[in-house]
Structures are given as C-alpha cells and as structure tokens.
Symmetry: C2
Subunit: 462 residues, 2 copies
C-alpha cells in the first residue's frame, strides 16, 4: 500500500490524521495518476521507525530510534518516565519524588503521536549536505514563508516588513540579540537587565560570554529612575513571563533603552493572545510551541535591518546557522500545525494546560499554607473569545511566616521537586511548579499536593 493514513497499524500510535494539507493531496494525485508503485529505498527506515514505535513501554516510557541498545537485546531500551522503571517501565516507585522542576514541554507529545502520519519525516541520506540553500543563505526560504504564515494565522506577532533569522533555540538568539543591540567600540558596555522574577539564562548567558560590550546588571527596577542616557540599556521583556505567566511590558523607556521581547510562551496554549506582538526585536521558539525542545530551533523577528545583519553575522560565525536537518523537521511540523489553521494543536495545547491549571488551583485553594499567582482571563484574538487561564507554570507561594524556603517545604513534606524562587532572583518563599511535563509527572504532582494539603489542619476558610 503506497499511501496509508495513521491510526490502524501500530500498537502505540493512535491517531486520525484528518488534517493533511493540500500539498499532500497533490502528491497523492500524482501517485494515483502515475499508478501505484512499491516504495523501495525508504522501506528499511520506515520499518525501523514503526518497529521502535511499537515498543509500548507500558505507557510509562518511550523507546527511541537512537536509544541505547544493550548487549543481547534486539532493539533500543525503554526510557521510562519519572518514577517508573523496569525493562518495560511497568514498575512504579511509590517513594519517588514528583518532578515539577524542568520546563520540558512533553505535554505535547501525545498530540504528535495522534498525528503520526502527517508529522513523520523521511530524510534521504543525501538531503541538504551543502552549507547553503540555493539562495546562498543558511536559512530555508520555504521555512521562513511558513513561519510568516503561522504568525498571520495565530495573530501573535507582526511580521510584515520585518526580517527573520533562525537560531539554535531561543537560547542562541537571546545572546545574538544582546550582541546586536550593544554598542560597538563604546567605552561603556551596555547594561543588560530583566524584571524579577526572570528566566535565569538571561544572566548566566550574558555572564559566560564575558564580552567587553555588555554586562548583566540585575533587576530592571534599579534603573527605572536613572537619567544616565549615555549608557545603553538592554531590557529583557518576557511575555508571558517565565515563571509567573504575566503579560509583562517593558519597564524602561528612553532613547538609550532597547528591548528584547522573549515570546517563548506567547502561544494560545499558555495565554490569551490579546493582540499581535510588535516589538522591534521579538524571539520565538519551537520548544514551547510544538514541544520540540530537543530540536533546538528558534527565530527572531527584527524591525531594523542593521540589527538583523549583525545578528546574522554573529549566528554565522557562532554555528554557521541552524542545522538543515532541524530546519527540515521544523518545516514538517509547521505544515501539520498550519493544515487546520492551527486549531488541532492549539485546542489540544490549551485544553491540556487549562485542565491542569484548574486542577492545581482546586487543590491549592483548599490550603491556607500555599497560594498561586493570579492571572486575569483575557479576550484571545486567536480563539475569538475569553478563554480560561492556562499558564505553563504554577508560581507557588508559601504563605506561612516560617516557610521561608518553599522549595524545601515541598521537598521534605511532600516529596515534590519544584524550582527555587531564588533561581529566578525572587524570594525562596516562591517555588515554580512545571505544568508542561508528561501527564505522569503532572498526575504525581497533583497527588502529592493533594496528600500534603489534605493533611493540613483543617481546610482554609473560603
């Protein structure tokens, strides 16, 4: 069978790909008119991939094509979810810590398993070996076109008349932007700032490069009333913010202030989209949008040509652009997302996150000891209605005077690993709980919180 939609042949993958795009239909037409033919050189690869996918790992783990192959075994090993083990991940470790730490966006994994047929990608051995595409650049024109289309459909960023560059995740672009916005050959390096609580990589990365052109200078508020306009200030503005999900706006203003708008989470999964973002320098990433953090793909949308050129030069000398394999895969994933105008992905993403937030809120609302951040529901131009709140993280506060280290409270009292508030330069009275991990992680987090809060001395007065 030449063309065969998903959902009927695999032990693991269940899905209905009703969303094949037009280009696919053209291919099918081409095939049907030309008569069916047996596929040839692609079949070993297809067999391998389907064989690995058919390893079920008890629903609590995953086998991958590049997983370890142990001596004496036939295929790659099962890689078990947190708190599961054994050769087929069927063993649950009850004393295990619930992991609410990292920002791995694996809540989207089931979406891609449901869209197995349309999102699978076959890479030929000779695919894009060159340093450059046919226009001599290191960026796929076709991918750029799809990114512009994506923003037009979602309505989360203005791209008209703006430039786009690709990076190895937003990580590489954050620093490329700092460099491009820093003055050249100035005696005073640019001050790089962000508003507490903020994503720690802003500081760690700025520090490790030890550039003569810029320095990290801490919290934005320190520079609010500063009248020294001789020194450039670069402000990281994170919308929605990591860790607390707020739709931050730039704090500093003036001719010497430049902003880097980090929109990693500005997708309908995590927030209402009140209007298209239109900052002069905006950064997006695949990681929190499709969930493919491992692919290391991000893009920046840039208004000013000089800044665009400076970023491009740096990205070229840093890594000679982004892996063409990653660009190919990103294109494939975007095609799946765009096929239904984004509905499939964003409804899946938003529903999953909204339900998790509701459940978390319900548990925490029973407690006197803990509280969560408040986020106001807003009208979303993508869904064209006011949608339920659905942040990526719970920004949990320990309300008791003596609970100064909320991370430790959760660790010792409930076997929960969050991320300390101080990691985000906030008080340790706060702890970030990741809501975007695998369902197993979330379920365990909720269960442990439930146990902890049910054990409190009576419910909170409502």
């Amino acid at each position: 069978m030449v063309v065969n939609d998903a959902g009927d042949g695999s032990n693991v993958v269940v899905g209905g790909d009703g969303d094949l795009d037009c280009s696919k239909l053209v291919w099918f037409k081409f095939y049907k008119e030309g008569g069916e033919r047996n596929l040839s050189w692609s079949q070993i690869a297809a067999t391998e991939a389907e064989t690995v996918a058919a390893i079920s790992c008890s629903g609590h783990g995953r086998a991958f094509l590049d997983g370890l192959v142990l001596d004496g075994t036939e295929g790659p090993v099962c890689e078990c979810n947190t708190c599961y083990g054994g050769p087929d991940c069927s063993h649950f470790f009850p004393d295990c810590f619930a992991d609410a730490d990292g920002g791995d966006p694996l809540f989207l994994e089931p979406f891609w398993m449901q869209h197995a047929a349309s999102s699978a990608l076959l890479v030929a051995g000779w695919h894009r070996m060159s340093y450059s595409y046919s226009d001599q650049s290191s960026m796929s024109e076709e991918l750029e076109r799809h990114i512009r289309k994506l923003h037009a459909i979602v309505g989360n960023a203005a791209t008209d008349g703006r430039y786009i560059v690709f990076g190895a995740g937003s990580t590489q672009l954050l620093n490329a932007a700092v460099r491009a916005l820093s003055p050249e050959n100035s005696s005073s390096p640019a001050r790089v700032v962000a508003s507490i609580p903020f994503y720690p990589v802003y500081e760690l990365q700025t520090d490790i490069f030890r550039s003569v052109d810029f320095n990290f200078q801490g919290d934005t508020s320190l520079w609010k009333n500063n009248s020294d306009t001789g020194t450039e200030i670069i402000e990281f503005v994170t919308t929605p913010n990591n860790p607390d999900g707020q739709l931050n706006k730039g704090v500093l203003h003036g001719p010497n202030v430049k902003a880097i708008h980090d929109h990693a989470y500005y997708w309908p999964h995590f927030t209402a989209i009140p209007a298209p973002a239109h900052g002069d320098l905006m950064i997006f990433t695949l990681s929190k949008f499709t969930g493919h953090a491992g692919s290391r793909f991000g893009w920046a949308i840039i208004k000013d040509e000089v800044i665009y050129q400076r970023m491009l030069t740096f990205l070229q000398l840093n890594t000679m652009g982004v892996s063409r394999d990653t660009q190919l895969r990103t294109l494939k994933l975007l095609k799946v997302v765009l096929a239904g105008g984004g509905r499939d992905l964003f409804e899946f993403g938003h529903e999953t996150m909204r339900k998790r937030w509701e459940k978390l809120n319900k548990v925490i609302s029973m407690s006197k000891r803990f509280s969560l951040q408040k986020i106001a529901p807003k009208y979303c131009i993508y869904f064209q209605k006011i949608r339920g709140v659905s942040p990526a993280y719970g920004w949990l506060k320990c309300e008791k005077e003596e609970d100064k280290n909320c991370f430790a409270v959760l660790q010792t009292a409930a076997n929960i690993t969050g991320r300390q508030g101080s990691v985000f330069y906030a008080e340790d009275r706060y702890v970030r709980l990741s809501l975007i991990r695998r369902q197993d992680d979330f379920d365990l987090l909720l269960q442990k919180l439930n146990e902890l809060i049910t054990g409190e001395e009576g419910p909170k007065t409502m």
Copy 2:
C-alpha cells in the same frame, strides 16, 4: 513489501546496499518471525521522499523535500548545479564562471545516493522532544559510542580515557575550546594564534566574540621566540592544513602554550593517516568526513576533565547542546560508514579526491605560469599502504613576477573563481581551488584551466 533494498525502484537513486549492519538484520528477523505487516503511519513520509528523489533535474541539480514550491507547480523546484539552469537544470551556461571557491563537500553526495536504503532515516513526529536524553545530558550516549568506534576503526584519533563533547559543527567547538583554554579572571587575555596560511574563521570568530579573556594575535611565528610565559597562548594547529593540505604540527611550546588541534580533514579521503592523533584537545566534524556540512555536527576529544567541563557549560549556555535531530541523523550516517569497517566510504572518498588531484596536477604541470603545493605520499595505517596524495584543495601559486593577484588572473583569463590567498593571510600570489565540490564544478574547473594553459606560449620545459 515490508523490507525492500534500494536500487530498483527510483529514477534517481542507483545503489547496492550490501552493507547493512547487524542491528538491521535483527530488525528484519523480528519482522519475519512476527509475520509481515503493512507499514502504516510512515508511508506518507516515505512516499514524499521517494517522489522528490525521483525528480531527476537532468543530473545537473537536485530537488529537496524542503525546496521551494512555486505557485501552480506540484512539487519542489529543481535546484541546479553551478552553471546549469532551466526548470529541469538541462540548460548549460557556457559563459558561466567555474566555481572553485567554497568548501562544500558535495563530492560525497553520490556516495549517499548509492547507499540510499541504509542511510534513509524516518523521524517520528514525537522523536526526542525533551531537552535531555535519559541520562539527563544533551548528548546521545549511543552516538558517542559510535564515534569512539569510528576512531578505533579509522585509527585517526586516540579516544581512550578522553572526554567527548558535541558541537554545532567544528565552528561552535573552535570558540568553545578557545574559551575553555583561556584563563579565568586574568588581567592579560590569552593570545590566540595560527600559522599562515590558516582558516580565516579562527580570527573572525575570535574577534566577533570580543571577550575580555582572549584576543586574536595573528601568525604563530611572531611568538616563536617570545619568552613571556606569563601570558597564555592558544595555538590553532590544523592537520591537514586548510588551505594547503600539509600535516602541520604545533610550532609553539612551553608551559603557557595550549593547542587546539583542528582535524576537520584528518580522514583517509584527504590524507594518509600516519598515526592516531593524540592532542590534548582535538576537533573533528561531520562536514568533511561524511560530507554533511549542512547538518552542523562536530565533536571535540578532550584529555583534561576541567577543560571538558568548561566546554560543556559554554555549549549548554550557547545553544543548549546540539539538535537532537542532527544527533539522530549523524548516528544513522555513522552506522552506514561503520557497517563495512569504513571501506566503502573511505575508498570512495579517497579515489575521488586522488583522481581529481591527479587531473589537476597533470594540467598544472603543463604550465610555466602556475604551480601547486607538493605533498609527500605517506604510509596510511588505515589503508595499510602508501596511498596517492589527495588533498581537499589545490593551493595554486602564480609564478610570474607580474601575477601578484592570482585570483584576478584566474578570474579574468579563465573565468574561474577561487579563493584569494589573502583570505588565508598569505600572499595574493596564491589562490585556493576547491576540489571537494560536485563533479560538475570540478569538471568545469579542469576544462577552464586546460583552455587557459593550452593557450600559454608553449609548454613548460619538463
């Protein structure tokens, strides 16, 4: 048909994959014992890839899965080789310049087309979405194991008791190495040097980072008799050298000298392997080994744990490691290479390069006006004999007093674009001619050189 070897079903791909490795046989066995089944969700991807591969582009171009799709056309456009055009690349432009400029290693493209079945890769939509592998690292253990096996088989580097890190091509690793070898918090930044002629990225990259910890300081020879051992010196040692193919050794010695051994070309394609390289910090890349420059994958082999950790930290904060898609593809390619102990690839690579060098030498030897670098044939421990010389580049010299700009001579007299000697910090009396590009490029280069040299005033006295 579930399993179907290559070579019979495509218009483009001709090949006999006689080199399937054992793990593949295990899969086949598994399938046969379990009974054949129709493949399901992988088939759209397989059909797309085979359909694109079947677009022949007249043998002077290539269509890619992520190629531009023009309005009104059904599939991606043909991307034509230099000097070819038209919708199917059948049109040859006779006045076109022969391109011997860039280092695109496309001489290896036919190898991968011949190994279509074993090198094809099917990536599932949910493959490796996480930031980390199951050991919490950002590097595939299975890939590292294959890299160590590769060096053991080829004999070109010692890996026992050494650490390995991955980077986005050698490009990212070069700077990661400079950083890791630079002193921390020293008042005098490390001096970064290289021996002329050298790969220009060493300087361009060191400059663009504008670090307080290191500066590029030009040619190694300036520091040969320097007795200032208070300042760290980092020497790039390129073996074989780009552009001239010589097996360079480190020039500077002393307690304050550290070397970065760039072994991008230290493969049997380009040089005899006299002995395993065993520098303290060695850098390799996929680009010139399998020819997949677009994949952006390289690795460093490091003796000292502290240096390894420093590189790892930097790579993490720069890009959060290398794309997992790229790591998966690299693993697949390495499996193909390793299947026959490397024979297939290295014999193909060496034969292609040796023949090109012979042809180039034959033409140049008829000229009084030009000469090529001399490289002595050496015993190769991989091939276990003395092998013909086969460098990646011709380092051409204009011998006439008045031909001070050899690049311009080739441009105006022969419509050949090489790369100026001054790009490598050498005299412009030299020009680098790339021998590793597509066959079309090499054929045209040879033809234009032939015409130029045949037109000289009589042959050189032998």
